[in-house]
Amino acid sequence: MMAEHVFGLLSEYIDDELSIDEKKKVDRHLQECITCKLEYDNLRELQDQLFLNFKYEEPSDTVVQHIHRHIAADQRERVVIKGFILVVLMGLFLSSALFVPFLSAFQTLGHIILVFMYIGRSVVHSLFTVLAGNVYISGSVIIAAILIILIMIPILKYLISSTSIEARRSTS
């Protein structure tokens, strides 16, 4: 007597996802049952057709170019950010280093002025005392700020021009 149909197992059978026992059972059944064999053939054909219909689908070259361009733009952006941080740090370091001779020059100048301008001694002295006290910080910041601004102007110009080029490319 022929065993029950195995329709419920055929999908897993064609995918080779059945246990060894179940697979043997289906193998045996397919040799005897034409109905299940037909269903098996249909499912197999459907699977092959699906695979073949999509096998040669490939995206156009522009998709890949867009991705590559995006990666390149991101890399450029990273370089600019890294450069910016480096410039700020270098600016701070340089301004701090440069300030040492400036500070002594201020002090020397202050002493000369004190000698020749005795009358305004207290005023000038107090002024330079304040400067000597705070000038280290304020001077560093001013010099660093000037350096950063000077360096940032061309970087910003470059960023603006590259962004507008990207925008034009993506709209075209």
Binding site: L43, L46, N53, E58, P59, I71
Partner: protein
Amino acid sequence: MEKEELFKVIREAKKGSPSAFETLVNEYKGHVYRQAMAMVHDRMEAEDITQEAFIKAYYSIKKLDREYAFVSWLTRIVSNLCYDKMKMKKRERDKQLVSAEQRDITAQSSFVEKTHARLSIKEALTQLSHEHREAITLRDIQGFSYKEIADILGIPLGTVKSRINLARQELKQILSEGEE
């Protein structure tokens, strides 16, 4: 590409090498595009999804724990993007169907399509539910095992089996209706 070589490229891409990532794009562009195409059945949209998937992958590849899980991880990204795209399309379609007149026209044309046009397998695929289409795409077009599909979609193995089985039955049914 050999597995070891591929893992090496993935490791380099994780470290931030743009050339390594570009190698991965060239290697998997077809894989990603085929999945997107099977899901949305529109060349332009499939290309958009492909592009978006790789850009997303580029920014988040550092979070990938294991190199050997790269393909599943990329497939999951594509799957999520397709889901979002289809949800958006459905919302737009629903908006267009607001007026009763439009609904009538659509009903008429779908009747005409059903009775006269013979559906291709690609068109028939679009008539499946999102879940069924996704399961059969991952199995028959992308070649993943049931276990891998369960991991990608985050669903039990039994659900994968039943979705694939039902998707095949539905697809067969749709194609045979088109032939009648």
